[in-house]
């Protein structure tokens, strides 16, 4: 019985040894495991403390290049950016793949009759005019209901930080943004439209 307990502790100890270097960037569950184990393991507690001290020391670095001069050298090269999608080649296929991906993500979309767009049209990222982050506890159903109520259509997301890219009628962006912000379940709503 006691051998089983020791074996379990060794397993946890080994797991924590491989996790504690990522202290602060772990999932909540992993962070709790590390901290809980460190309370009863002197080796891990000491290691954690040592690492936190090391992280607090910014290693000496060489002189950074001049940022504004570097940006000035880069700006003329931006002209090379392809603005028009040519027919043929791989680009339409890449856009098609991206479109299919975004379409799949749009399963939450409230407009079931969403119209298909032709290849070569602007990708969904450009079509999004609002970015919305819901509170973590918001259910999918609630999220859908809120977007449906405000006539907003999902065109991308969620990103790793749970941001959704949505499209609303261009003349209603500001109105919908304000309305979404007033929703208790909405943590953030920002316009993606360029200020004029």
């Amino acid at each position: 019985m006691s051998a089983k307990v020791v074996e379990l502790d060794v397993g946890v100890h080994q797991r924590v040894q491989r996790l504690l270097a990522f202290d602060g960037a772990l999932t909540e569950q992993e962070q709790q495991l590390v901290e809980h184990h460190a309370e009863s393991c002197g080796v891990c507690a000491e290691e954690l403390l040592w690492q936190r001290k090391l992280k607090a020391v910014q290693p000496a670095a060489g002189a950074a290049p001049d940022m504004e001069a570097a940006l000035a050298r880069l700006l003329p090269r931006l002209e090379e950016r392809p603005r028009v999608v040519r027919r043929g080649g791989w680009m339409p296929w890449a856009l098609a793949a991206q479109f299919v991906l975004l379409l799949a993500l749009g399963a939450f979309s409230l407009q079931q009759h969403q119209e298909y767009r032709l290849l070569g049209e602007k990708p969904a990222l450009a079509e999004a005019n609002l970015i919305v982050i819901f509170r973590p506890e918001t259910s999918d159903r609630h999220l859908q209901a809120i977007l449906q109520y405000h006539d907003a259509r999902v065109v991308g997301g969620p990103t790793e930080t749970h941001a959704w890219l949505v499209h609303v009628a261009p003349d209603k962006v500001e109105q919908v943004r304000r309305a979404l912000r007033a929703e208790p379940a909405v943590q953030l709503a920002e316009s993606l439209q360029v200020a004029r």
Partner: protein, 198 residues
Amino acid sequence: MLESWKSATAAVRAGRAEANEVKLLAQAERGDRAAFAQLYRAYFPRLARFLDRMSRDGALIEEVINDTMLVVWQKAATFNHTSKVSTWIFAIAYRKALKALAAHDEPVDAEPDDEPGDARLEPERALSRQQLQAQVAQALDALPLAQRTVVNLAYYHDMGYEEIASIMECPVNTVKTRMFNARLRLRALLGGDLEVER
């Protein structure tokens, strides 16, 4: 309680920063140079700090940053939101840096990944902060590039192992093993005492 409040606040702050970066990227994709410049200025110091542990050549660092940000401008539409903007940009920078180092004949790896730790760099006396920073830099530079990159991203860019695996295009377990080995090596090089003299 205070810790969970701090962590929730940090999460909201990170969410806002990420949302702002997604917004700038979308604007850059439409050809907005001012938005691109804003993104460039936000990333330049972070990338310079990251690349400084890979090369000491300032011109090479600038070249890698500009090549990276040129890709960001050109491929903004291909950003697919499955990762953070920062993970995407750092992954481009890492690939560009490896290519640039190879092209410039700079040593990418001085030693194999599993090299055991060697003698301590300095005896156990309290150091000034500047001395300690120099010593930490020296210890980091003694690590093989792959281990050094994992430590750099985890310790000084607050990235988790999944993000690092995504940037370095390797399995998560490889990241954890590199970090574990790096930690042992750093411990051997720096010793247990990281106190600064008062």
